[in-house]
Structures are given as C-alpha cells and as structure tokens.
C-alpha cells in the first residue's frame, strides 16, 4: 500500500490521498487495467491531480467551502459494511425495510458503501435493460460495447469539476439502465445508495449510466442515505442520454447522515423531442453540492428541473444548474425552492446558455427561498447568457419569511400559530413535491418533510 498516512491537510496531500486510493484500486482490477475504461479512469485521475479540490476563490465554489470536508481522511471501502438489523425475520428483508421506500413497484438496485447488494435488489430476469455498471464493464463486448461508448460522454465535457474527475477515476459500480427503442414502463427503477455505519470515515464514488433509446420512457429514483454521527463522503456521477422522443423522469433525494459530505453531478444530454424531468429533494448531510448540467442538443427538447432543499442547524446545501440551449425550439423550466432554519446556508446558482443558433428558446427559471430564522442565509445567482435574439427567457428569485398576513388569516380561523406556520411551510414545499408523479414516493417524501418541518420548529423554539 502506497498511501499517505494521517490527515490530508494541504491541497497536495489531499490529491495524494486519492492517488493512494487509486493505486490500491488498480491492483484489484486484474485484467481490466488494460481496458478502454481504465484509460478513461487514468486520464480522469490525471485531471483530478491537476485540478485539486476547489477553494472559495474558485468562482464556482465561492459560497461553498469544501476544505473542512476534503481534509477528512475518508477510506475506500473494499467490503461493504455490516448490516444492523433489529428484531426477527429475514435479515436482508428487515434491513431493507429500515432503509428503503416502501410500496414501490418495479426494479430495485441497492448499493451499500458503493458495492452492489444482490440480495437486497430486484433485477429483471433476462437482465437486459437494468444492470450493474460493473457487470456491463466486465462483459464489454458486442451490444455492451455500444453502451460503453456512452460512458463519460457527458461527464468528460466537464473539464473543471474535480469531483467529477475523481468519480471517473474510480468509476466501476452503480447502475446501468439501457432502454431499448420504444421501451415503456410506468414502474420505476429504484436506485438506492446507502452508506453503512463503519469504524472509520469512508467514501464511495457511485456512477450511473442511463441511456434511453428513441421513444422510450421510464421513471427512475436515485436515493442517497446513511448513518448519522459519522463522517463519510459520497461522490456520485450520473449520466443521462435521452434519445429522440424519449421521456425520463428522475426523482432524486438526498438524506445522508448529519455528518456526511455529499457531492452529486448529473450530466444530461437530450436529443430532439425528448423530455427529461429531474425532481431533486435534498435535506440530509452536513454539506451537499448538487450539480446538474443539461445540454439540449436536439430541437423541441424539453428539460424540467425542480428542486427542494430543507436545511437546519449548520447544514449547507448548494445547487448548481447549467442548462445549455444548443439548438432552436427547446424549452427549459426550473423551479428551485429552499426552506432554511437555524444558521443553515443555501446556494442556488442557475446558468442558462442560449447559443447563437438556438432561436425560439423558451427558458424559465424560478428560485424561492423561505427563511425560517434570522441566521439562515441563501445566496442566489441567476446567470443568463443569451446569444440568440428571438428567445423568451425569464428568471425570478424571491427570499422571504412567512407572510404575517397569511398567518393572521389562518389564526383568525382557529388555527394555532404553530399549525399556521406548519401549514404554510408545507404548502411552500408541496409546490415542488406535487411534481413528483410516483405516488408512493411523493407520499413518502411528504410525510418525512412534514415531520422534519414540525420537528425543526420545536427544536428552534426550545433554544
């Protein structure tokens, strides 16, 4: 083992720390080390080494200071952690009940500490369209060869995000969803990335590849969760390629443990007439950064990004979105809402590019923040760069407290002040939650957020 020991304090030590991980990772790869995929990894590692982790002097990271987190000595996980199960019954079933959304039909892939857990998963019998990425990589001939061609095609365009480069360097496990032409399903593919309780801080780099063939459609869920009271680091990358006329709804929710550091980067490439909707709900972790980049590469493509974050205490959640209107007649709709309590911080940065040829672009961006305490803050930055002349682009941002007139109106009808505030806060959140089409998931999130909002208030009042 060729690893830096102790705590990676300086930028150089931080890079060295992961280079050390890479060397041991590489040793366990056997023959795969000479494959194309591995060339991709090596290049990404080089890029990561050159970039290092960002500081707040980087414009893209101005409000999000990751340095306290990247100096934690996260260890890679070669074996998934233990499963804690209370009570009787089949241990696998019990464990799953404790961590997964109930009542969801369809396929399910569960990853523990970045490793696939077959006994907790439910895959199609023929294994055709929903597989593990490691499975696809290790059998990368024929059809798989075509599929492998997509790997990195979206993420590699991002030359600046060191977390994406780091993920690509360790690219191996995650989900690979490949929908054949005109494949259609209302049942979701549910991807659950769960970190377990371990003695030492640990990290994982989940990688997902979603290729929706022409005219196909499917809902997908990505969930990230883990234990409290323990530092760990999740650094995920998902690439979506939406073929001509395809429809993809991706519902993502992040509720990592309270000491976790979470970075997710989603790269979407849309062909003509495709429609991609991403609903992101984020309320966990100590610090989270969510990057979404969507390229509208074919005419009449439509991209919808909705987001809801809920933070309390000293939590920090940052949403960075980029929508690139590269062709004419495309539409994008963005609605991001944040509810902040305690001294938590929120960041929203929404970039919209409209390229010179992208006439008749229709882009709308809305960002609303609700501050429930005096110490909570949000930094909002819309960035519209428009190079075409015949376009409709609007953006609006509001930051505010609960409306006193609304509270009084509710109280004058008999509702107590807490109930009035809960009702209004839930209403603010439901605007985004109601856009989730999968009913069991929507109800699950509504119930959780309802409890969180009420709990947060009681804590704040007792302070």
């Amino acid at each position: 083992m060729n690893r830096v020991s102790g705590i990676p304090r300086t930028p150089a030590e931080q890079v060295e720390w992961y280079v050390g991980h890479f060397k041991s990772f590489e040793k366990r790869l056997n023959g795969e080390a000479s494959s194309d995929v591995h060339t991709l990894r090596r290049r990404a590692l080089d890029r990561f080494s050159g970039l290092g982790f960002p500081g707040t002097r980087d414009e893209e990271w101005r409000y999000t200071n990751v340095s306290p987190f990247v100096s934690i000595p996260y260890e890679p996980v070669s074996e998934p952690g233990g499963r804690r199960v209370d009570g009787g019954g089949s241990p696998a079933t019990k464990f799953l009940e404790g961590i997964a959304v109930r009542g969801l039909p369809g396929y399910r892939l569960v990853f523990l500490d970045g490793h696939f857990a077959p006994d907790l998963s439910r895959l199609p019998e023929n294994g055709a369209h929903v597989r593990t990425l490691s499975g696809v990589i290790s059998a990368s001939e024929g059809v798989n060869g075509d599929l492998m061609g997509y790997l990195g095609r979206g993420a590699e365009k991002d030359r600046e995000n060191p977390f994406t480069a780091l993920n690509t360097a360790f690219l191996r496990e995650g989900a690979c969803i490949h929908l054949p032409e005109n494949f259609h399903s209302d049942e979701p593919v549910y991807l659950l990335f769960h970190s377990t309780h371990r003695p030492e801080p640990h990290c994982s780099h989940p990688r997902n590849l979603i290729v929706a063939g022409p005219g196909s459609s499917v809902p997908i869920i990505e969930e990230y969760s883990g234990p409290g009271n323990q530092p760990y680091f999740t650094n995920s990358v998902t690439e979506i390629f939406a073929g001509r006329g395809s429809r993809v709804e991706l519902d993502r929710f992040q509720h990592e443990g309270e000491n976790a550091f979470h970075v997710s980067s989603l790269y979407i490439t849309q062909e003509a007439d495709s429609a991609v909707t991403v609903n992101s709900v984020s309320y966990g972790s100590a610090m989270a950064r969510h990057n979404i980049t969507a390229v509208l590469a074919g005419e009449e493509a439509e991209c919808t990004l909705n987001g809801l974050t809920l933070t309390t205490g000293t939590q920090h959640i940052d949403n960075h979105t980029v929508i690139d209107h590269a062709t004419p007649n495309c539409a994008s709709h963005e609605l991001y809402k944040a509810i902040l309590e305690g001294s938590s911080r929120g960041v929203f940065n929404g970039k919209i590019f409209v390229r010179r040829d992208a006439q008749k672009t229709d882009a709308k961006q809305t960002n609303k923040a609700l501050l429930l305490s005096d110490d909570a803050t949000i930094d909002t930055k819309p960035q519209l760069e428009i190079f075409a002349d015949d376009v409709r682009c609007t953006h609006g941002a509001t930051v505010g407290q609960l409306d006193e007139e609304q509270i009084f109106y509710l109280r004058s009808r008999g509702l107590g002040p807490e109930d009035a505030r809960d009702l209004l806060t839930n209403a603010f959140a439901s605007d985004v939650l109601n856009r989730i089409h999968l009913e069991p998931l929507r109800e699950h999130l509504q119930a959780i957020l309802h409890v969180l909002l009420c709990k947060g208030r009681i804590l704040a009042e007792n302070e």
Binding site: R411, P417, L423, A427, D431
Partner: protein
C-alpha cells in the same frame, strides 16, 4: 355579548381608533358605517386580534370574558369570525383542507369530536348552497386566483361552516355586483340566529337594504359619532359624512 369601552388603537405610531364605545347584544345586527380611512377595518381587525395594531387604552368584553388578552385563534375558537375586507390568498393549501383544520381546531376547543373526511365533505356540500359557491373552488388553494366576488362568497361560506357567535363582516359588499350582493346577503340572513350577533361594516347603505340592521353606528376619525336606527343609514346616503366630521356644525 360584546362591550367595547373607550378603545384606542394605533398602527406605526398613528392613533387610528380614538375612543370607540360599542355594545352589541345577543342576536343583534349592527352596522358600522363611515368614510374611507375612518378606522372601520382597524376596529374589525383589532376585535379579531391582529397584532400589528397596538391597543393603547380601553377594554373589550365578549361573552363576559376579557377579549384583548386572547390570541386570534382563541377568539376564533370562542366564536368570533372576521370576514376580511381583503381575503388573503394562501397558495398550496386547498380550501377544503384549510376549512377542515379550522373547524376541527374550533371543535376540539369546545370538546366536540373532530369531523372525519366523509362527514366533513357532506357538511361542506350543504353549506356551499347557502352562498351558491362553485364546488370547483373547494379543491383550489384558498382564495388563490379567485375573482373578487368569489373571495367574498368564500368568506361567507367559511362563516357558514364555522358557525360563529359573533360575525364581523368587513365590507363584504364592496366589489360585488347586485346579483352577487343579493346572494351574499341572503346567505347572511339565512345564518341569522337568536344566538348569533353580526357587525356589518360597510361604506354604502346599499347592503343594508338586504341585511337589515337593528342599530347603525357612524365611525368618523376613529370615534363613533352617532348611533341610531336603520333610518340613519338612509340619512347618510343622502347627506354623506361631512356633516358628522369633527368641528362640523351638527344640526338637523
């Protein structure tokens, strides 16, 4: 049932109510009239417990209890209802959900059983007829995107559901055409009850042709300057308010 004595109230340092005296008996209908800006809404909001208005002097008893120390929700639970001059829009909260939460919190306070969904819906359907409210509005967010008339009807509909003992209607007639005015007034009349008192705040006497008051008061510059029978309203219609202003020569 309601006794207001020497009530003074200010907002942002300006004294708006300057010694209001008002006694409303059980089952009575009182009208409060007055020019714009005379403090009618302020009085209504103070009675409903709006904290933005500071009560600087005076006392109010309601059903033998001191009203001013009570929180707005306590007043509501004790049977006070304010129909707002400008009903507030509450995006994201459906009318039905809102009314159920309201009614159940009032019933709970009274030690009555909370309604279940089916019984509650039946109740809504029945009470809606009273003001001819479009059933589609039930599932819409409270007042959001409602027309002016729909908002006012929705207020009276809420009154019909919550069954207050003292209803204060603040310019419920303003912005209504004659047909809507009739419907709303009919609704109020059907809610008349020997146990229910109503204060009708209005700028015009038009409404009082439909909701016939027992007593009419005139509020000018934060004081009730005259009280009388319903003929006072007609007199105001004819002469306007100027003759009642402070310093004006009062004569008949």
């Amino acid at each position: 049932m309601l006794h207001v004595k020497n009530l003074h109230a200010s907002v942002a340092g300006n004294e708006i109510l300057r010694g209001v005296d008002l006694d409303v008996g059980r089952g009575e209908i009182h009208a409060i009239m007055g020019p714009n800006g005379s403090g009618k809404s302020t009085l209504a909001q103070v009675l409903a417990g709006r904290e933005a208005y500071e009560v600087t002097a005076g006392e109010v008893t309601y059903n033998g209890k001191e009203l001013l120390p009570m929180a707005p929700e306590e007043r509501s639970r004790e049977g006070i209802f304010l129909a707002f001059q400008y009903p507030v829009e509450i995006p994201g909260v459906s009318n039905t959900y809102f009314l159920k939460a309201a009614l159940n919190s009032i019933r709970k306070h009274r030690g009555e059983e909370e309604y279940d969904a089916a019984d509650f819906l039946a109740l809504l359907k029945e009470r809606m007829k009273l003001v001819d409210l479009d059933p589609a509005l039930l599932n819409r967010p409270v007042n959001e995107g409602f027309s002016g008339g729909e908002k006012k009807r929705n207020e009276i509909f809420q009154m019909a559901v919550l069954q207050p003992t003292l209803a204060i209607l603040d310019e419920t007639d303003s912005g209504l055409d004659i047909d809507a005015l009739r419907i709303v007034a009919d609704g109020v009349n059907r809610l008349r009850d020997p146990e229910r008192s109503v204060i009708v705040v209005t700028h015009y006497q038009r409404l009082l042709n439909y909701i016939v008051p027992d007593v009419v008061h005139v509020l000018v510059e934060g004081r009730i300057v005259r009280s009388g029978g319903r003929e006072l309203a007609l007199e105001l219609e004819e002469k306007g308010y100027d003759w009642l202003r402070e310093g004006a020569v009062v004569g008949k």
